[in-house]
Amino acid sequence: MKKEGLGWRIARDIIILLGLILILAPLYIVIINTFKDLEQASKGFFLFPEQWKFDNYVELFTKNNFWTYAKNSTIISVVAIILVAVINPAISYAIARNFHKKYYKAVYFYIILGLFVPFQVIMLPLTKIMTNMNLLNITGLIILYVALSLTKGVFMFVNYIQSLPLEIEEAARIDGCNTFQVFTKIIWHLIGPMLATLVVMDVLWFWNDFMLPLLLLNKTQDYWTLPLFQYNFKTEYSFNYTMAFTAYFTCMFPVLVVYAIGQKHIIAGLTAGAVKS
């Protein structure tokens, strides 16, 4: 892949530059406005603050149970994603390698069916089921996330595992590994890129989800997650948008930090050429 056309390279650089501006400009606007009060912001929405003010942050951290919400969000995201990362590959592997058997084929289509179901169909029945099972709490939400992660997970993994070469597995079996060992020692490593994709997708969903926490965790603010708190600003501070920006930014911040620290890992996981035949 040495020489590439000059025209293509110029076009490419322009596209990337435009993209960078489009992505960074809104973030810039959000961040600078968190350091202004309303009066300053109304003078220049996208100007640098004349005077850096931290009042918004002080108010945010002192007046609200921010840390409780952050803790809840973290517990939910972490526990749910661990379970998702274990359950999805396991069932997908079983299906992918036994696709010729009726049971596994049936299970596959049974689960894939969910891909077509819009959330709106199950929204209220789900709330009712959770109420009856006494699961209107964080545990209940975690269980739901795991259950709802399956369609996408199975859809992504089964195709992927089927595309993996069988040779390595067969070699391992000749060395005496059983199915469980093949799964943990070999498949687990081979599915890295897809697993990373699923983990990133789902963690972001769990972290940013608003609808399910709203329906399940509304009994007391002690259960709230960050998106509930953040959305609440729409009514509570609808007007004070620099304050609202502060809340939005603060909720994004942990994800951005995790991402900044782990981005090499995350993106490498997403793009690394682990699949070599």
Partner: protein
């Protein structure tokens, strides 16, 4: 090999137990929010409060704290969620109703809940003697009984910038012609007379203007809803709503150019920053305007109709407190104690001062005297009308909002507008 399998099962069990533990942790100090009493004889009550505004929450918080001092055995926990209507709808649908909550008793959805037995009958309770009778009279359910204690009122009015009025020597207008004259004066001086929030606020503008410009307009729409006639057929109704359309078009001439991009909060901000002389706003807008500009001097007057006598103001009960019929006897007792407590004049006064909301408990006085004109108008003239949702179906009202928005945006002929209104009602009525 078998050991392996056993290990898998065991470890998944352990994971399951681990996260079950987490859930308990997160809610340990509050594990039974709705269930009520525990061993120490204390009773805990969830108070599902539907108004998200910070000041209103703070108002309740303040009187709950005082209540706690007098009644240490009753713990009231205010719970305010985003999108509360949706949450309440889902909790009702799943039979999980908060023991104490606020709702809007004049609306049809409330009456539907009463019909299905979700709310405790409160008729005859002591606290009703403290409530303003005019507003109380709006609240009985279809069976004539009372299921909610009205606590505050709201209204739609013209908010005006007092400095601008005084600097230009302008008096408060009391008829449509005077109102237009005021608008013209401002326009001549280069001041935008009005701002409209037609992005998300077209509904309340529609309600306020209908009541002001067509005093029987809502009743006429109800007849259309019942299929008795249409605005296009009935000559009288046609004249009424043609007049309405003309007035709206006239009003738009005095509005802002970016009206359709302006949301209600943006309008409040714009008004607070002195970009316009007047806005048509709900009483709920006052708090935000003060947040944006604490020094602003502004008051409110009724949106004038053709004559002083025909001028009618839209006002209603702004949240009332209800008790769930499914609560335990203890919870109900505790809830009644709380309602009796907050219906006292001093308590209601404190709430009103703290929240900035006009109370309807006897003996209270609204602290901001700039708003006395509108409140006096409502109390003394008696020309008032309730919100549309008390007689029109919710979805009819919501669809009409869209139709009115299209009318203001696309400016079709008046006949077409009336036909669109008719069609909208016919298509959305159940």
């Amino acid at each position: 090999m078998k050991r392996r399998i056993f290990a898998t099962v065991l470890s998944s069990l352990m994971i399951a137990m681990a996260f079950a533990g987490c859930g308990k942790d997160a809610g340990s100090d509050n594990s039974k929010p709705a269930a009520g009493s525990n061993n120490s004889g204390k009773i805990e009550l969830e108070f599902f409060q539907q108004q998200g505004e910070e000041a209103i929450q703070a108002g309740y918080e303040a009187i709950i704290a005082d209540f706690q001092k007098e009644n240490p055995d009753i713990v009231i926990k205010q719970n305010t969620v985003p999108d509360s209507l949706k949450v309440l709808a889902s909790r009702i649908a799943t039979d999980d109703i908060p023991p104490l909550l606020t709702d809007w008793p004049t609306q049809m959805q409330f009456k539907e809940k009463v019909k299905n037995g979700y709310y405790e009958k409160l008729t005859g309770q002591e606290f009703f003697s403290q409530v303003n009778e005019d507003y109380l009279a709006m609240t009985p359910a279809d069976d004539g009984e009372y299921y909610a204690m009205p606590y505050a009122r709201n209204y739609m009015a013209v908010f005006y910038n007092m400095d601008m009025f005084e600097e230009n020597g302008i008096e408060i207008p009391t008829t449509w012609d005077e109102f237009i004259a005021v608008c013209d004066t401002f326009k001549e001086k280069g001041i935008t007379p009005l701002n409209f929030p037609l992005k998300d606020g077209v509904g309340h503008i529609f309600q306020a203007t209908t009541v002001a410009f067509v005093p029987d307009g809502v009743e006429e729409l109800v007849e259309v809803q019942e299929g008795k006639t249409t605005l296009s057929e009935n000559a009288e109704y046609k004249a009424d709503f043609s007049g309405y359309a003309d007035k709206m078009m006239k009003l738009m001439e005095y509005g802002n150019e970016d009206a359709f991009g302006m949301s209600t909060t943006m309008m409040q901000e714009s008004f607070a920053n002195g970009n316009c002389a007047m806005i048509i706003s709900g009483s709920y807008g006052r708090g935000n305007i003060l947040l944006a500009n604490p020094d602003m001097r502004f008051g409110a007057f009724a949106l004038p109709g053709d004559t002083v006598d025909s001028t009618t103001c839209l006002t209603g009960v702004n949240a009332a407190l209800c008790v769930s019929a499914q609560a335990s006897e203890e919870e109900k007792e505790a809830a009644f104690t709380f309602l009796n407590y907050i219906s006292q004049t001093e308590v209601a006064q404190k709430w009103s001062d703290e929240s900035g909301e006009p109370s309807i408990i006897a003996g209270t006085e609204y602290a901001d005297e700039n708003f006395a004109p509108i409140l006096n108008f409502i109390d003394e003239k008696g020309q008032v009308h309730d919100w549309m949702a008390s007689t029109l179906q919710n979805n009819v009202v919501n669809e009409l909002y869209n139709t009115v928005q299209s009318f203001l945006l696309d400016k079709p002929s008046t006949d077409q507008f009336l036909k669109n209104m008719d069609d909208t009602i016919a298509a959305s009525v159940q």
